[in-house]
């Protein structure tokens, strides 16, 4: 009977199909961090603030969730001479030791501390690209100790968007490409929501050991009224960024002006050539070509990359958001004060 054989063939085909289709990973939707990793990150960043520090994240990559179960800090790099090899050695050593105590030693990303949210730099993007080559999915966690003093847990998980990564690989940031992909400055970094988990043992301990007073340090720092230093620093950074931004825009203006000037020159040259050709035709000679690739006015001017301006724009947006957040808090505090006074 043909049926069993065709059925078997159908099954065999589907098996082959299944085996040959690539494992498409679902998009990353949530980053799940353990309380332990958060505390470690906070401790490391706070101990060394105001200087910026980095560290490695370890964990597991499960479906659409990236679990971060542990982390370890990187030592400060002073000079770069022999520290390269040292740094790699340190990392290997730490991973090996952690493996012996059954900690997942699977790198899933790195964390870094930042000052007032000024973390969007070219180095960040380059580090991302480096990591992306080796690990399929990596994430960067940013912690802001200065903002945490205002009583907010300023922890953020970032990822480069895929479309941006493609563009970066081709190193192509001209205007048309960006318009093609419909990529604007919002699309560079993706903010991934964070979920916090704790093992039952730890949560049992914490429940037992929780301080008895209902008011915690967190509340004290939130209800405190002096957010002025934070806001002033924020505004200073914002102003500096605006200066950078205007410098970038000047570059663009310059480029466009040059471009249009070059176009005008080309037109003029073309006119001259055409006139010459008319004269030649009248004289019965060969017309000259209408293009002259050797003439310097035909050299295409490279368009400046828009990457920097995008990053700066991102930073400015970040500062604005922060200012908004703090202003909101301050409004609350002011009204609270008013209410207390009325009573």
């Amino acid at each position: 009977m043909a049926n069993p054989t065709t059925a078997a063939a159908a099954v065999a085909r589907s098996f082959l199909q299944a085996a040959s289709t690539e494992d498409v990973s679902p998009p990353l939707r949530v980053v799940q961090i353990e309380g332990l990793a958060i505390l470690k990150i906070i401790k490391h960043c706070k101990d060394f603030s105001p200087s910026l520090v980095t560290g490695q994240l370890l964990g597991l990559d499960v479906g659409s969730v990236l679990e971060v179960t542990n982390c370890f800090p990187f030592p400060m790099r002073e000079e770069d001479d022999e520290i390269e090899a040292d740094g790699a050695n340190y990392q290997l050593e730490m991973m090996r030791c952690l493996r012996e105590v059954n900690v997942d030693n699977n790198t899933v990303g790195w964390y870094q501390s930042t000052l007032f949210g000024s973390y969007q730099t070219v180095e960040l993007i380059e580090t991302f690209m480096n990591y992306q080559e080796n690990i399929r999915r990596c994430v960067c966690i940013i912690y802001d100790p200065s903002r945490s003093n205002q009583g907010v847990l300023a922890l953020k998980a970032l990822k480069l968007s895929d479309s941006f990564m493609d563009l970066h690989r081709n190193n192509n940031f001209t205007g048309e490409k960006l318009r093609e992909k419909n990529l604007s400055w919002v699309d560079i970094f993706e903010d991934i929501p964070i979920k916090v988990t704790n093992s039952s043992l730890v949560s049992a301990f914490m429940t037992d050991l929780e301080a008895d007073s209902p008011v915690t340090q967190c509340d004290l720092s939130r209800l405190q009224f002096s957010s002025t230093p934070f806001v002033t620093r924020n505004m200073e950074f914002l102003i500096e960024c605006m200066d950078d931004m205007s410098a970038e825009q000047q570059k663009f203006q310059f480029y466009y002006r040059n471009l249009s000037r070059q176009q005008a020159q080309q037109q003029g040259w073309l006119q001259k050539r055409r006139a010459e050709n008319m004269a030649r035709k009248a004289a019965g000679e060969e017309p000259l070509p209408e293009e002259d690739p050797l003439n310097p006015i035909f050299k295409p001017i490279p368009e400046p990359s828009r990457l920097d301006s995008f990053l700066i724009t991102n930073q400015i947006a970040n500062y604005c958001n922060q200012v908004n957040g703090v202003a909101g808090q301050n409004f609350n505090r002011l009204y609270l004060m008013k209410a207390l006074q009325d009573d």
Binding site: I38, E100, R179, V196, T197, S199, M235, C320
Partner: protein
């Protein structure tokens, strides 16, 4: 650990005024290493890192687990691992030194003495922390011990583990928010305003409590306590006395400042989107 006939036996003269302070990270780390211990191990041993402050308080800031072997009668500790981890940690934070060791069992057992001896070779007067992960008393007990030498005349007899007061500094944990660290899973980190809301709710609850207490005292339902009364009076009096107009002006100025900030940031954002449009606009040449 009894002193016995105490005429001859006496504790060494250093009564330790030592206290220990433990950061919450240490507890988290210990619990985590306990959960991840190899199947045949009953408890986890590890090193404590930290610093000794000027007034003698030992501040325990960090820790790491060290693999060890505790089969019948024989005790072995992976010393090389311990040294490697110590070096690695010191590369990041050279100020953290060994201040003791921890073990996750209730109370001090006989095996602990050998570990303690090993650690006393590394640092003078190590602190031994026991974190009771088994919850034997039905509650979490974290105790710290120091070894005191019992000497008979001139001879060293034994070491006694004496408990020292332990201060669990939860300041960082409080900053993060106990809610996040307590539950088994929190779906979302609270944003600025949500945090403010929570804090204000707590403040309101506090004020309600104080109100109720004062009412109770006035009606005779609760015993009077002069100290508390004075505290409350001080707190209420600390609201600065200002004429309503001066206060209103203050509040209005504050509101106007904040509005200005909001306005500036909104303008900047508008400018940004405008610049964006212009920058990537199609060039018509």
């Amino acid at each position: 650990m009894a002193a016995g006939d105490s005429t001859v036996l006496h504790l060494s003269s250093q009564t330790t005024g030592l206290t220990a302070r433990v950061h919450p990270l240490v507890i988290f780390n210990v619990c985590d290493s306990y959960v991840r211990r190899p199947d045949q191990a009953v408890r986890v041993i590890g090193t404590l890192l930290g610093s000794v402050l000027a007034d003698g308080t030992v501040e325990i800031r960090n820790c790491y687990a060290v693999p060890h072997n505790e089969s019948s009668g024989q005790i072995a500790l992976d010393v090389e691992y311990h040294h490697n981890m110590l070096l690695s940690h010191q590369k990041v934070n050279p100020k953290e030194v060994i201040v003791g060791w921890y073990s996750t069992c209730f109370g001090v057992t006989s095996g602990s003495v050998l570990f303690h001896e090993f650690y006393s070779r590394e640092v003078s007067n190590p602190v031994h922390l026991t974190v009771d992960t088994g919850f034997s008393n039905g509650q979490a007990s974290i105790k710290a011990y120091v070894a005191i030498n019992l000497s008979l005349g001139d001879r060293q007899l034994a070491a006694q583990f004496q408990e020292i007061p332990l201060d669990l500094r939860m300041v960082e944990a409080e900053r993060v928010g106990f809610d996040i660290l307590k539950k088994q899973s929190v779906d979302k980190l609270p944003s600025d305003l949500e945090g403010m809301e929570a804090s204000m709710e707590r403040l309101l609850a506090l004020i309600d409590d104080v109100y109720k207490y004062v009412d109770d005292v006035v009606e005779g339902r609760a015993p009077t306590n002069n100290n508390i009364g004075r505290f409350i009076a001080d707190a209420v009096a600390s609201i600065p006395k200002m004429t309503p107009s001066a206060f209103d002006k203050l509040v209005n100025d504050g509101i106007q400042d904040q509005l200005l900030l909001l306005y500036l940031s909104s303008i900047t954002r508008t400018q940004l989107s405008l610049a964006e449009k212009l920058n990537t606009a199609a060039q018509i040449l």
